[in-house]
């Protein structure tokens, strides 16, 4: 009988329950709970205030308005001109998942002092010398590195110039030794050889449509973002940019007046140009001769500029092309190129001068210190490896953990953007040199050490970077208060007119130009392109992972015909197999590409597999695509 009683009691309780608030409160409160889960983040509650600041991730040094909540920056908004997508979310670097926060020795946690001790031990060692590879030259920290290296007797290495390569190449042709900047606002037409002019070059604000007063003719093998929105896209065969440049020079020679003839090495240049007639060039570039002649006439008719800068990930386009572009600029009257005055430096900071990494002697470096302060830099290890001695110690002063994790013995964390007062690298595309500071809005995590302090301590100099920065500001004569408030010191423009002394740099012969022009394209020509700022914040995944606006990293595309003879099925995972490494890619077909071209969108991964060829361009010889 008990069981039946229990059932009756239970029935009564259940009936009564409906008349109590228990079921209704449970319904209500569980629904409220579903909007208030403990693992959901809470929004900050402090005062929302804007603070004027400067973004110092790249030479453009855009003016930003840092919106802060309770003192923590929650967004960077444009103040004067526009920002690039990374500019909005640069404040996320401090919390980026790959951010390096503690010193690592071969993956094991260590202390900065251990790295210092190991480095100074290696310094006192006999063989080889110390070198600092500065991935972002032109900052105050760079000047300090060169100053300390003078004391240590080391060399200051800089990566090959990618953005601003044409300006650098033209610089060596000038009469007066002055830094050059390509200024787009002074030209009517820009012929760009595979340069991501409208896509990643510093501030989109300056090249966005309404401010753009110049026509863009993009000569590129791939229908890149710039090619898609340029006024005209010359779909040339891969690697045939130099041929086109020489063909244009050929036409210009016929229509050109005498003055350029007086430059030395002009004969060498004419010998190379004459050899490349438009008809001959048409076969290898795929552009019909009449278009080449019309193009040359267009360039000559109004002030125009020829650009051959590379892609931040794809690397420089080769010395021959850069010299050809520089020569064309000289023939066209150096329009759009301005002398850029240097930013004053304190007198007692004399230091060694910059040596491009390719010029360093092989096996000469026993202690290499790499300074990688901000995201967006990529350098193939194949450029560095031969320069190191067999037992070289590599210390990477970097903001992130994975890039040099495999190669560096020590990884030392450095303060990132907004964690310490830092200045922007020297601008490369504005006529006037400018100096600007990013404020310190965030507390730097402990265990973080400024890169220049590390090198200073090595050289026995105990002055902290902040004081050095103040010293420099005093030398420049700018008002520190105004700089902290997001102001910018601009050097007075140098009034000198430019005159070219020669048309080809020493050592650049006609045969090298013609050889580069006729170099047979590899069976599979890998054209890498990347997006310099993709590593700034995980939120940028909105552009390539959660939308098809930008190509996702490791996505490759080729012409359907190429896909067929690569015997690879679209959608099936595939691997880009190269002599120096394998890279998993996901393939897609794109009719706009030329045959035999594999357009690869990639971040730093490409730099692991590419090599620098004789002309300094980053190529992937002998690449094959195989199903995974």
């Amino acid at each position: 009988m008990i069981r039946r009683d229990l059932l009756k009691f239970g029935g009564g309780a259940a009936a009564g329950l409906a008349f109590t608030p228990i079921p209704w409160r449970l319904l209500g409160d569980t629904a409220m709970w579903s909007q208030n889960w403990s693992w959901m983040p809470r929004v900050p509650r402090g005062e929302v205030a804007d603070k004027d600041a400067r973004c110092t991730l790249c030479p453009a040094a855009c003016a930003v308005k840092a919106r802060c909540a309770g003192g923590v920056p929650i967004g960077l908004w444009p103040r004067e001109s526009a920002l690039c997508p990374a500019g909005f979310v640069a404040h996320h670097i401090a919390w980026h998942p790959i951010r390096l926060r503690t010193c690592l020795h071969r993956g094991q946690p260590a202390k900065n002092e251990d790295a210092l001790r190991a480095a100074s031990a290696r310094l006192s060692g006999a063989s080889g010398s110390v070198a600092v590879l500065d991935l972002v030259p032109g900052r105050t920290a760079s000047l300090l590195h060169r100053h300390h290296l003078a004391k240590l007797g080391g060399t200051y290495l800089v990566p090959p110039v990618v953005e601003g390569a044409t300006a650098a190449a033209t610089q060596s042709l000038l009469a007066q030794p002055v830094a050059l900047a390509a200024v787009l606002s002074d030209v009517k037409t820009v012929l760009s050889f595979s340069t991501p002019l409208l896509d990643g070059w510093a501030a989109p604000g300056r090249v966005a449509r309404p401010n753009r007063q110049f026509r863009v003719i993009q000569a590129e093998a791939r229908r890149s973002r710039t090619a898609g929105i340029a006024d005209e896209w010359l779909a040339i065969r891969p690697g045939s940019e130099t041929t086109l440049a020489l063909a244009i020079a050929h036409c210009l020679l016929k229509q050109l007046s005498a003055p350029a003839a007086s430059l030395d090495r002009f004969a060498e240049w004419t010998r190379a140009a004459e050899a490349m007639s438009p008809a001959l060039a048409a076969q290898s570039t795929g552009i019909d001769p009449t278009r080449i002649e019309k193009l040359a006439a267009e360039l000559r008719r109004e002030p125009s500029l020829v650009l051959a800068d590379g892609d931040p990930v794809g690397g420089p386009l080769g010395n021959e092309l850069q010299s050809a572009a520089a020569a064309l600029n000289v023939m066209l009257g150096l329009h759009g190129l301005k002398a850029r005055p240097a930013i004053p430096v304190p007198k007692d900071w004399a230091g060694v001068d910059e040596t491009p990494i390719s010029n360093a002697a092989d096996g000469s470096i026993s202690l290499l210190i790499i300074d990688e302060p901000t995201p967006g830099q990529a350098l193939p290890w194949s450029l560095i490896a031969p320069k190191l001695a067999h037992d070289a110690l590599v210390v990477a002063l970097t903001w992130n953990q994975p890039h040099f994790a495999a190669q560096a013995d020590y990884l030392v964390p450095v303060p990132v953007f907004l964690e310490a007062q830092q200045d922007a690298p020297a601008p490369h595309d504005t006529p006037q040199a400018a100096f600007s500071l990013s404020p310190a809005l965030l507390p730097a995590p402990d265990g973080v050490m400024h890169a220049s302090d590390f090198v200073a301590r090595l050289a026995g100099d105990e002055v902290a970077f902040a004081d050095r920065l103040a010293e420099r500001i005093k030398a420049i004569g700018a008002d520190p208060k105004e700089l902290e408030a997001g102001g910018q010191w601009i050097a007075p423009a140098a009034a000198s007119t430019l005159a070219a002394r020669r048309i080809l740099p020493p050592g650049m012969t006609a045969d090298r130009l013609l050889a580069a022009a006729q170099r047979p394209a590899e069976p599979l020509h890998v054209v890498a392109h990347g997006w310099r700022a993709s590593a700034t914040s995980p939120l940028l995944g909105k552009l390539w992972q959660e939308s098809a606006l930008r190509d996702a990293p490791r996505s490759a595309s080729a012409h359907p015909a190429t896909m067929r003879n690569l015997k690879v099925v679209v959608g099936r995972p595939a691997v880009l197999d190269t002599p120096s490494g394998r890279l998993p890619v996901n393939l897609s077909a794109d009719e706009n590409l030329q045959e035999g071209v594999l357009a690869l969108s990639s971040g730093p991964a490409f730099t692991q597999i590419c090599q620098s060829d004789s002309s300094g361009a980053w190529r992937v010889p002998g690449a094959k695509v195989v199903p995974a």
Binding site: L27, T30, A31, W33, S34
Partner: protein, 415 residues
Amino acid sequence: MHSTHLIARGACRAPLPRFLMWIAPWVALFALGAYAMFLCLSQGLFHTNMDNRYAFGLWIFLDLTVIALGAGAFFTGFLLYVLHKKELKAVINSAVVIGLTCYSGAMVVLAVDVGQPLRAWFTYYHPNVHSMLTEVTFCITCYLVVLAIEYVPMLLKNRRLKLVPSFLVFEWELHKLMVVFALIGTLLSFFHQGSLGGLFGVLRGRPFAFREGLAIWPSTFFLFVLSAMAVGPSFVALTTWMVEKLARRPLVKPEVYDTLGRISGKLLLGYVFLKTVDTLLWINQTAPDRGFAAHRFYQHSAFGTWILFAEIALFGLLPAFILFQPKLRQRRGFLILAAVMACAGVTLNRFVLTIQTMALPTLPFDRFLSYWPSWQEFAAFGAIAAYAVLVYSFSYRYLTLFPQEREIALAEERS
């Protein structure tokens, strides 16, 4: 008191081991599906392959189909209690069990399909009366209660429960009032079957699915009700035939099949006619007025015009014709074939309205997208099918679903 005393006297059922053998695979499928549902509820709906374009996927399509097939419950009840078609007394219990399992299964899947099931009661507390989904939610839950109430008498007639006097008397009194529940069931089902169709007919933003109609109800509202009523009896006949095959003994008299077939045939013919009229109206007037030429809906390879022909002619007209002819209808093979085709026709109609609507682009620069459900989606619905079969198997074993079974057995014994 061992288990034979749960089975009604005179009903010979399989011995327990064989019954366990029969339910074992279904229990396994149920467990797998329950795990899939747990994954979706505890971690999130990324376990399905649905995305921002395919907001509705396999689950909504199968929900619509299962509820359309479950319409046998309300329509058989309506025919029996209101139109007094006495021979359907033989299948009413089976129809109610099918209806209950279909509806409760659909509700469970909807609870998993919804992103925040804890807030499901918001639709009651803050109803938006203009939305067809509010109407569906209200009516399906009410009708689920009515079905449960219709299931209670069967439960109370179980041999063990019958011994409790109050149960049997309550069952007797409730059975006398069953006509009230049949009427309410018909009212509720008319509205929610219709609103399930209205769900897609009102979508101004989806010209493929949008239909003009009567007052606030698009034409798909009435087409869905009619098709559900047409397919209900066929599905009841189909399930009864399957149970007879599994039980290897006749359970209902032949005229039951004939009645179900006849009614289903007549309604199916009416449905096909109205569906054709509606489609022509849609092709020539509704879609073009809204700036979408109807042929563009069928230019994508996956869903060509064959799907329209299959839905209306092959699976609509043909079964209607078979069920309409008494000669053909007598042949059990033809009747079952027609029933299967009718069910397939309604399933295809639901598929077209859910999946094809999602697949077609509305913006000129958007693309036709396809979608393939994940294993979790299949498993979750497998669990619902398994749940339905299990509930039906246990009901068939321990409750009397087919009152004529004993009578037929004795009659056969005599001959």
